[in-house]
């Protein structure tokens, strides 16, 4: 077992330092990029906290839906093939629900403040543990 502090805690601390201490000392192009770096570290913190459980759930749904085994990349590629060929109908309730769950878990990591995500959260009652994590 690796020691504490855990990676998300350290990433959050570095992001805070860049945003609160370094950024005010800079201007222009550098200032912009320092804030981009802080945001990127915050995103990686959320990734480490949210993605493992969300991706395990996604993998379980894909195996059940496609009736085959494989990793996330292979099964997503297979789902894409079947959507493209029409073998799977995206309007089927189970498929639609899978696409929603997967999309919401991605947004919780990538852009939890995006207005379209906030709107989708308000429109869709949280259905799983994954989605409950997304509320700040």
């Amino acid at each position: 077992m690796q020691d504490e502090p855990r990676p998300p805690e350290i990433l959050a601390a570095v992001a805070r330092y860049l945003r609160d201490i370094v950024a005010p000392e800079t201007k222009g192009h550098i200032n912009f990029n320092v804030r981009v770096c802080a945001n990127a570290l915050e995103m990686m913190r959320r990734h480490l906290e949210i993605a493992p459980a969300a991706e395990a759930a996604e993998l379980g749904r894909l195996k059940a839906m496609l009736g085959m085994d494989g990793d996330l990349l292979a099964l997503n590629a297979e789902l894409c093939r079947r959507l493209e060929s029409g073998a799977i109908d995206p309007a089927a309730p189970a498929v639609r629900e899978h696409l929603w769950e997967t999309t919401m878990a991605k947004l919780a990591v990538d852009q939890p403040t995006y207005w379209g995500y906030r709107a989708a959260l308000a429109e869709r009652p949280p259905a799983t543990e994954t989605q409950k994590v997304q509320e700040p």
């Binding site: 222009g28 493209e84 990538d110």
Partner: protein, 330 residues
């Protein structure tokens, strides 16, 4: 003095009748090419100018028209009454600065969030959507015959182009697959009257003042296509900046945009195709974002690229809301 500053200083004296330049600084905006700001010193006065250039002389992307054509488009737009910056000089090989052009610096706001939500633009927002329609109508009167190198694309070809770009990214995205199926199944026919379209008319490329649009910027992906493309792109979810109930750039209503367009002489807007062009817009921005992952790994390992690549999922939730929220997807 840096090498670029020296070259611009010489350019100012040789080509622009000035005494030199001052205050050269790189600007943070502009992800695909270099944008610099400097002052032309002439008759003791300083005039701010912008340099847009591709330093190696390379085309910045496959779909870009090239900087010389962009400069010519800006000139042709000005003739039609479109607000654009002046273009005092197009770079030549003898200038030694690469390909590109100088343009007048236009003061104003481009940040979509401030335009959509800022107090300073509260009054502007009451007429800006209509004004966008009027300006687009003028752009769509530009003569495509003047620009034979611009690409001509039907809606089906546009979709195919982005589907290929998405496939080339090598990353499976079921929401995009669903979207491409829908776009193909509901694709509008080739336009009866194709127009010269700006191709990227949205917040970020519009210089805005309290009185409205001061300049339409970034003509690099102009092409000839269905004029609805420009109208739909401005209404794409990605440019709303949190203002959910203002589909036009987070500042206005679709009807105001369309009425302004038609009143200024634009062809009657096909309202039945509006949803299709907004879905197309979200898909297009999504493909542009996911392409950033490739450039991040290959040509430009800038953190900004990586972060934009991970905004692809924003378009996925937009597409889910457009196509999978109710019964409309069928």
């Amino acid at each position: 003095m840096s090498e670029l500053a020296g070259l611009l200083d010489e350019l100012a004296r040789r080509r622009l009748g000035g005494e030199g330049i001052s205050g050269l600084a790189r600007m943070s905006a502009g992800a695909t090419q270099e944008i610099w700001r400097f002052n032309l010193v002439k008759d003791g006065a300083e005039t701010p100018l912008i340099l847009r250039r591709a330093p190696g002389g390379d085309r910045v992307s496959e779909s870009a028209v090239g900087l010389e054509t962009e400069a010519a488009l800006i000139g042709a737009a000005a003739v039609k009454g479109v607000p654009v910056p002046s273009v005092p000089w197009v770079l030549t090989p003898e200038d030694g600065i690469g390909r590109g052009f100088l343009m007048g610096f236009v003061e104003g706001e481009t940040l979509g969030g401030r335009i959509a939500r800022g107090e300073a633009f509260a009054h502007t927002r009451t007429f800006l959507a209509r004004q966008c329609g009027e300006v687009l109508a003028r752009i769509h009167t530009m003569d495509p015959g003047q620009f034979p190198n611009l690409r001509r694309l039907t809606p089906a070809e546009l979709v195919a182009q982005y589907r290929d770009a998405y496939r080339a990214s090598g990353w499976p995205r079921p929401v995009f697959e669903m979207t491409f199926r829908w776009l193909e199944d509901h694709c509008p026919p080739p336009p009866e009257h194709a127009r010269l379209v700006h191709g990227d008319f949205r917040n970020g490329n519009l210089m805005i003042g309290p009185e409205g649009i001061r300049a339409v910027l970034d003509w690099e992906i102009a092409h000839v296509a269905d004029p609805m493309e420009d109208l739909g792109w401005l209404c794409t979810s990605s440019w709303r900046f949190g203002v959910v109930d203002k589909p036009v750039g987070g500042f206005g209503e679709r009807e105001a945009l369309w009425e302004g367009y038609e009143a200024a002489g634009g062809a009657p807007v096909n309202r039945h195709h509006a949803l299709w062009w907004e879905v197309y817009g979200s898909m297009r921005w999504g493909v542009m974002c996911c392409g950033m992952a490739t450039s991040f790994r290959t040509t430009d390992p800038n953190v900004e690229r990586a972060v934009i690549a991970r905004r692809t999922s924003e378009t996925e939730v937009d597409l889910m809301r457009l196509l999978a929220s109710g019964s409309m997807a069928a």
